[in-house]
């Protein structure tokens, strides 16, 4: 019970960098971020957004490269959801009437792939799913989080 208090005192008395050495197991803490590092994280993200954007807009080359068949009707996600309109990612998870179950955004993405698009369902943890999710969240990043909202 006394350890947290000790740490608290150390925190009050010690510069933050030294604290990183004093508390917690070695290696559990990040190096201080640099602008270059942040930039590289952002680039990783934006590359996913770019791929997701292409998948969302039915780009055949990207689908082929990622080995997915998101549609067999010529329909692409963006045909009903230009600029991701009406995807409402910020309302998930929620009860989704079409599936009659409590659903995540990933469930909904797969429902759209299988039903209106008549394509092939993708794995929840697949690269294509992550890219689609990245694009949808990026595009809607100004929308307000409102989980459960119909």
């Amino acid at each position: 019970m006394t350890a947290p208090i000790t740490r608290f005192i150390l925190f009050r008395a010690t510069p933050a960098v030294a604290l990183a050495v004093l508390v917690g197991p070695a290696g559990a803490h990040k190096d201080p971020v640099t602008p270059q590092l942040l930039n590289s994280y952002q680039q990783v993200f934006m590359e996913q957004v770019r791929k997701g954007d292409l998948l969302f807009h039915g780009d055949a080359a990207t689908e082929q490269a990622m080995d997915v068949v998101l549609s067999k009707t010529g329909m692409a996600c963006a045909m009903c959801h230009p600029m991701t309109a009406d995807t409402h990612p910020a309302t998930f998870p929620k009860y989704q009437a079409q599936m009659a179950k409590f659903a995540t955004l990933r469930d909904m993405i797969n429902w759209c792939i299988e039903k209106p698009n008549q394509g092939e369902k993708i794995a929840d943890d697949s690269e294509a799913m992550k890219a689609l999710e990245a694009y949808i969240y990026w595009s809607q990043s100004g929308s307000v989080l409102n989980p459960g909202k119909f």
Binding site: D53, D59, C80, D86, H88, S143
Partner: protein, 376 residues
């Protein structure tokens, strides 16, 4: 302030001045739309503004010498049959229903986007399906019909993309709002297919502000209307709406200011348009504007700019491909009354509560980026 916001304020300042409305003798009838039948009630203009204005029933004074009706179909977006049979089924259904109208419609206006990617095969499939309809047919182009071969096949099939005729006391005008897009393809050395691909992406960022009437066509319109009594009705068909709703999706014409200048002297102008694939109603100066349903699929309402006078359509069930789509019947009665009736293939057209309206959940959207990154 964003450019969009500036434009929007401008349109309000210029065109929505207090006291300026379409023909004040307008009476709007309240209807609940049910497939093939409707319940009729009456409301005065004042009541209507207090309530939701209604889309379907419009009076045009001095309109009809004899009652008549015409039908509208648009935005069938046909792919080759082998790829997509759903769009074909729905076009066939609309054609059959128009042909079955009794008494028959005087003519059919096809409001553009017959094809999805402008292919000969797609346009010819459309012609084939519309053969079911034996009445007079007139056509205006949509962007999906045009940008593979720059309107060559469309012109061979349907002739001039703009035209006018008088019918029972109404001057009808068809406008081409799609063919004057800025050249985004030559400098980028695009193939016709690539050019079409960008044009066929509603939220694309490459084709830009392609919707417009153009100076030459405006001059033609002015000449066409010059000998027409300013108090007699004019009905203008266009693929895009003739006002500014949401430029990023070309839910507008970029030269709406000039269009308004030409139409200003005429007191009874009704614009009927496609492209937006949704229930829309707006009044701009003395012009009223009615958006028609697609047969193919519904577009969502844009994240901003939905006209306040629009009673929104109900949220669509994406599991039912006959939902949120359909065609329209327009009546001109002996009492000089013009009615537009949405024939939507489900029970309810309009939102019944705020939760039925998709935009009851606000969203802030970013335009796409992947089409603007090299090598695009």
């Amino acid at each position: 302030m964003s450019e969009l916001e500036r434009d929007r304020r401008e349109i309000a300042a210029v065109l929505q001045q207090p006291g300026v409305h379409p023909d004040p003798s307008l009476r709007i009838t309240r209807r609940t739309f049910v497939h093939r039948s409707c319940v009729v009630g009456a409301a005065t203009v004042a009541e209507t503004f207090a309530w939701w204005p209604l889309l379907n029933t419009l009076d045009i004074a001095y309109a009809a010498e004899a009652p008549f009706k015409f039908a509208w179909i648009s935005d069938t977006h046909l792919y080759p049959k082998s790829l997509n049979t759903r769009f074909v089924e729905k076009t066939v259904r609309a054609a059959k229903e128009v042909q079955a109208m009794s008494p028959p419609a005087d003519f059919l206006i096809f409001g553009g986007d017959l094809a999805q990617l402008g292919k000969v095969e797609e346009l010819e499939l459309g012609v084939e399906i519309l053969k079911e309809i034996n009445i007079r047919k007139v056509y205006i182009p949509g962007e999906h019909d045009w940008y593979l071969d720059m309107g060559k096949k469309w012109g061979e099939l349907f002739g001039q993309p703009h035209w006018t005729f008088d019918h029972k006391g109404v001057r009808f005008v068809g406008l081409d709002t799609v063919s004057r897009g800025p050249d985004y393809w030559t400098a980028r050395k695009m193939s016709p297919e690539e050019r079409m691909g960008h044009m066929a992406t509603l939220d694309g960022t490459v084709a830009g502000a392609w919707a417009g009437v153009g100076r030459d066509q405006l001059d033609w319109l002015q000449k066409t209307l010059a000998n027409w009594d300013r108090n007699r009705p004019v009905v203008i068909f266009s693929h895009n709406p003739l006002y500014e709703y949401y430029p990023p999706w070309n839910f507008w014409v970029r030269d709406w200011r000039e269009v308004n200048e030409v139409l200003k002297p005429y007191t009874k102008v009704t614009n009927i348009h496609g492209h937006t694939h949704q229930v829309l109603y707006n009044e701009i100066g003395t012009m009223r504007s009615i958006g028609m349903l697609a047969t193919s699929w519904p577009w969502p309402y844009a994240p901003e700019g939905v006209p306040k006078l629009t009673k929104p359509m109900i949220r669509v069930d994406p599991g039912d491909h006959f939902d949120g789509v359909g065609w329209a019947k327009i009546d001109v009665s002996a009492q000089d009354k013009v009615e537009a009736e949405y024939i939507m293939w489900r029970k309810q057209v309009f939102a019944q509560s705020p939760d039925d309206y998709a935009k009851s959940i606000p969203e802030v959207l970013r335009p796409r980026i992947a089409d603007n990154i090299w090598p695009y």
